[in-house]
């Protein structure tokens, strides 16, 4: 992280020394979402696993967070043949715990409370606004990627992922 900030500052410094010239490169740009939209919390068919987050055991299930997207659900009733049964869609999610069939999850900004008594019918109950505000900066660069990217801007919403895009004068760079 420290290195990223350093490189960010360096590139701003260098850019300020060079006369304005449009640089067009391929890079990554943030995909924004509305942190106040809880209507997308739902159970979906199985989804691809790209960027694994934390893992939980819950009842006979193994729950695997997909960073910023939600939770893969594996039925592990028979550990010799676990079955991927679907996906709890929670845009922006990477932190989770379950107590008495209640899932507490973040969506990058808010703490969300979801009833999963029936895991295939997750039901949004309530949320605590802005509880994870101070962690937001951690999400501001694309994972598993080296190169230029469009800096994520606060105020545009929460970052739900990254997409390839043609960028003009990108100010951010990561070496991760």
């Amino acid at each position: 992280m420290r290195l990223n900030i350093l490189i960010l500052c360096m590139s701003v410094f260098v850019a300020s020394c060079i006369p304005e010239e449009k640089v067009v490169v391929q890079g990554m740009a943030p995909i924004y979402g509305d942190p106040d939209d809880f209507s997308k919390i739902s159970f979906l068919p199985t989804q691809p696993s790209v960027n694994r987050g934390n893992i939980l055991i819950y009842k006979n299930y193994i729950l695997i967070n997909e960073r910023l997207k939600g939770i893969h659900v594996y039925d592990n009733t028979d550990p010799t043949s676990p079955v991927n049964v679907g996906f709890i869609n929670i845009p922006g999610n990477s932190i989770l715990t379950i107590d008495k069939d209640i899932l507490f999850a973040d969506n990058t900004l808010h703490l969300i409370v979801i009833d999963i008594s029936d895991i295939k019918q997750p039901s949004y109950l309530t949320h605590i606004s802005n509880h994870f505000k101070s962690s937001l900066i951690e999400e501001l660069f694309p994972p598993n990627y080296s190169g230029d990217f469009e800096c994520a801007k606060g105020g545009k919403g929460i970052v739900l992922g990254w997409e390839e895009k043609t960028l003009e004068n990108p100010k951010c760079f990561t070496n991760n």
Partner: protein, 261 residues
């Protein structure tokens, strides 16, 4: 005052022995409608309280009413917090530089008992990785290698498993240091300590002497970063797979089907 304080410490120490039922755990193991997490967790419940750590703060919610969680406490902990772990009424918080211990009082509010720095020479080194605890001892992995894209510094090579005596949570002290290759997530079960070392496999230590983990074996084929153990099922989490084991005779491990992600 001093007598009271000493008495309190005594009681705390006693409670460690009295409460040590069997397994370590991040939550109230046994209830089957709650989750068991690995060692990188930053949110957990104890009783009817929910605890979260952000990069800097520890927050407590009362969750007696599930539709109305109520923030009842919030305090600054430190910087670059990595994980939160619960054992016997104590919250262990690992940051990149410090092991923090909080005791949960009877209102559910955590109060700081100690902050132990991993290094006495400043924070130039910022190793990654979590701390767990059981039965009066805390185990922390420190590693400077980072192939998972986390915020670790790589300016200095350090790869260690540290054991701290926390029988008195107000005065933890270092019991032993074991050189490792790339230690990451870890877990305790049945007097065994399991430590994931990425491409270097999973190391299993005997904890008969809790202050000095003794290496039993390395499972080279299990390239894991975190580990979760519950009801005899061991999940070792790799980059793109989850290795599954269960116990055989004499706590040998029988490998089950690997889940490919």
């Amino acid at each position: 005052m001093n007598i009271q304080k000493n008495l309190f410490i005594c009681l705390m120490a006693l409670s460690f022995y009295a409460c040590d039922t069997n397994f370590a755990g991040n939550s109230e193991i046994g209830s089957n409608d709650s989750s068991i997490a690995g060692s990188y967790s930053t949110m957990l419940t104890v009783g009817n309280k929910l605890y979260t750590v952000s990069k800097e703060e520890l927050s407590t919610f009362d969750i007696s009413e599930k539709t109305k969680p109520k923030l009842i406490d919030q305090k600054m902990v430190g910087f670059q917090i990595e994980n939160l772990y619960h054992n016997n009424g104590l919250l262990f918080i690992g940051s990149q530089t410090t092991l923090y211990i909080y005791a949960i009082d009877n209102q559910g509010i955590p109060n700081r008992k100690s902050a132990t720095e991993y290094f006495s020479f400043g924070s130039e080194i910022e190793p990654c990785d979590p701390v767990i605890a059981n039965d009066g001892y805390a185990y922390a992995t420190l590693s400077s290698r980072n192939e998972t894209g986390g915020p670790c510094s790589r300016t200095f090579e350090i790869n260690e498993l540290r054991t701290y005596n926390v029988i008195n949570p107000e005065q933890p002290f270092l019991e032993s240091t074991i050189e490792m290759k790339n230690p990451k997530g870890l877990s305790i079960d049945r007097d065994r300590l399991y430590v994931c070392e990425g491409e270097h496999g999973m190391k299993i230590f005997d904890l008969s002497q809790k202050n000095i983990p003794a290496l039993i074996t390395t499972v080279n084929t299990c390239q894991c970063y975190d580990i979760i153990i519950h009801n005899g099922l061991i999940l070792a989490v790799g980059k793109k797979e989850i290795y599954q084991f269960q116990y055989g005779e004499n706590q040998s491990l029988i490998q089950l089907k690997t889940i490919l992600l």
